[in-house]
């Protein structure tokens, strides 16, 4: 019997709330069927930290591009993935994660960690990635193949899209499924 090659999937999270990943897990027991069809590579749900050398078929990204590390990672993700999916409103539009736009990151850091706000007023600039001046949706940085709307996208929508992609089909995301919030 010919063995079907499993679809190689990666997931990442940038500036977001993990809610889109939770919605992915909200497919509940369907996860067991999905687990039989995919190989999950680098993901917050696994211990693999980087893309495999030969890349993956599908990468789902939650969250917006909020710091310099995300900027580098989204480019790597594009390079290493045949299909790149923006998972949820933060990845699609910036959403809540972009509400800080218009505020100067240094001012933000001073307000949060400065002497007025904490006991010792140490400002976090060491060993943490610098914030970008403007939070951006993925598609402002790299080409994105599919957009899953919603904050978070409902589990059934994620399942529909992922199963279609796993079967090599184009997910049908128009109609009632196309809504924000």
């Amino acid at each position: 019997m010919a063995r079907v090659r499993k679809v190689r999937v990666a997931t990442m999270w940038f500036s977001g709330c993990s809610g889109c990943h939770m919605s992915l897990l909200d497919i509940d027991e369907t996860l067991i069927d999905l687990a039989g069809k995919i190989d999950l590579f680098n993901s917050p749900l696994t211990d693999l930290k980087t893309f495999p050398e030969e890349g993956v078929d599908v990468t789902l990204i939650e969250g917006a591009v909020g710091n310099e590390e995300h900027l580098a990672l989204v480019r790597t993700a594009r390079e290493k993935s045949k299909i790149l999916v923006a998972l949820g409103d933060c990845a699609v539009t910036g959403n809540v994660s972009a509400l800080r736009n218009g505020m100067d990151p240094d001012r933000l850091i001073e307000d949060i960690y400065g002497k007025a706000a904490t006991t010792n007023g140490e400002l976090p600039y060491e060993a943490v990635p610098h914030l970008v001046g403007r939070v951006r949706p993925l598609s402002e940085v790299v080409p994105v193949d599919y957009f899953l709307h919603g904050c978070p996208p409902p589990a059934h929508l994620i399942a529909k899209a992922v199963f279609a992609l796993v079967e090599g089909k184009t997910p049908d995301l128009a109609g009632p499924d196309l809504k924000f919030g």
């Binding site: 993990s18 749900l45 211990d47 706000a117």
Partner: protein, 473 residues
């Protein structure tokens, strides 16, 4: 020469982080740091928005425990409206908070941590995850998935969706519980109870000995959580209680709205997550722990019989409190049991389907504090508004933040036992991550301020040079 070890990103935790281990000239561990690497700025961009938006907006701090933020926010708003919410609304908010505790604890245990215990700490990293668990033990995985789904379903049936339900509002909740949904919750409760009994049994028989439970470092600290006035475990209302390692009550009943009298925060150059501490002991000595271990250690007893029996077995007749990081898992399972017991009690209360669930009022106070227990620990929302109800200032102290000092301590202790004379032994990476994972830090919440965290261990030498970066590939 001193060295540094890096682990990045820390995986199977909810958010973004990395770890640096500093070695001294002899190659022994001098220090270790757990960095939280993201920031989103909620305390800034909420300024100028209306009070009514706050539950829905602050929910987006965290998709794992959105209900926690929604409830803490709604409670802070109740204080500003200066209303007492209807009895049914209190029962329903408690019910949703317990649904959240079940789903979040089940996520932490089955999806994130169980692969370590059930597949082995040193098993192949490629399959040491939930997909690997499904392959190795589909029956248990299915039960764990269904237990989490029960908690999520309670949230969905109350609030209309699983993640970010716009349901708890200033003054109460916006929809009563239908008889049909109540019946569903009652019907599925026995299965959830059976799963947690089985899991507790399996867990205790596999990790019964103290040695096995000492795998992730052990140290004394203070423990904090809400409790009822008689010291019983609590999750939604009540008073702040602190107990020390010997079991002595340090703070018996502090008014949660005056939290700042006992808790203040420090910041460090290397993390976006602040460091709260217990004021009388100062920074950094005032380390305390919250979450399952914090609450269970801080309480005198459980008000429900099954959880109380587990607590007695866990304490084993001693007044002293467990400082073992691993016991976060033990207490997490006990709390799932306590939550399910109370869910049963709430559903049995006839008032729970009352249609009166919301008190309407305008702005009657210019400041409000909402405190309750999120799965990961005490969550504080503090708002100041103008007379139109526009936010002038807000302060959020999130659950994971309270544990920041303790997570750093755990990382340092584990690093010390796995790195000797410059030799890094196998298994360090995953033990350190396991130590962090036990706290189940929600780095999404932590970085409400700025951002998220991946995990890398970096080894830095005495000269401050980066020597090795440990990250799996």
């Amino acid at each position: 020469m001193e060295r540094q070890i890096h682990i990045e990103p820390v995986t199977r935790v909810e958010g973004h982080g990395k770890i640096t281990v500093f070695l001294d000239a002899k190659g022994d561990v001098r220090d270790a740091r757990f960095h939280v690497t993201e920031l989103r700025g909620f305390e800034q961009f909420c300024v100028g928005r209306t009070l009514w938006e706050m539950p829905g907006l602050t929910a987006r701090i965290c998709g794992i425990c959105p209900v926690s933020h929604i409830l803490a926010s709604a409670k802070a708003c109740d204080a500003i409206l200066a209303v007492q919410i209807p009895p049914a609304a209190t029962l329903l908010r408690r019910l949703m908070n317990l649904g959240q505790m079940v789903q979040s604890h089940a996520l932490s245990f089955f999806y994130l941590s169980a692969p370590d215990f059930l597949l082995g700490w040193d098993s192949d990293p490629a399959t040491r995850n939930v997909v690997g668990l499904v392959a190795a033990n589909p029956q248990l995985a299915r039960k764990g998935i269904r237990l989490r789904a029960y908690g999520q379903e309670i949230i969905d049936r109350l609030g209309g969706r699983r993640v970010h339900p716009g349901w708890a509002v200033p003054g109460g909740v916006n929809q009563p519980l239908t008889a049909e949904n109540r019946a569903w919750m009652l019907e599925h409760l026995p299965e959830a109870l059976a799963t947690i009994h089985e899991t507790l049994g399996l867990f205790k028989s596999s990790f019964g000995s103290v040695e096995e439970r000492s795998v992730l470092a052990e140290f004394p600290s203070l423990y904090m959580g809400l409790s009822r006035p008689d010291g019983a475990w609590e999750h939604y209302a009540g008073v702040l209680r602190l107990v020390d390692a010997k079991g002595k009550v340090v703070v018996a009943a502090h008014d949660p709205s005056r939290y700042h009298e006992i808790i203040q925060e420090a910041s460090e150059a290397w993390s976006y997550l602040k460091f709260p501490y217990y004021v009388p002991k100062g920074y950094p000595n005032g380390m305390y722990r919250v979450g399952p271990l914090g609450r269970v250690n801080a309480c005198s007893h459980f008000a429900t019989p099954l959880a109380q029996a587990e607590l007695e077995e866990f304490r084993d007749g001693s007044a002293a409190r467990s400082g073992r990081v691993f016991d976060y898992h033990t207490t997490r399972l006990i709390e799932i049991l306590a939550a399910l017991e109370e869910i049963g009690e709430l559903l049995a209360d006839e008032r729970i389907t009352s249609p009166h669930v919301r008190a309407e009022a305008g702005i009657n106070a210019l400041e409000g504090v909402g405190v309750h227990e999120a799965p990961r620990g005490t969550l504080i929302h503090h708002y100041w508004v103008d007379s139109n109800g526009l936010i002038e200032k807000l302060n959020l102290i999130v659950s994971t933040g309270h544990n920041n000092l303790a997570m750093n301590r755990a990382v340092r202790e584990i690093a010390k036992s796995y790195i000797k004379k410059g030799k890094v032994s196998e298994g360090l990476l995953n033990r350190i991550e396991g130590g962090i994972r036990a706290y189940d830090p929600c780095l999404s919440c932590s970085v409400h301020a700025v951002g998220k965290m991946p995990l890398v261990v970096e080894v830095v030498n005495a000269a401050g040079e980066l020597e090795t970066t440990l990250a799996r590939d």
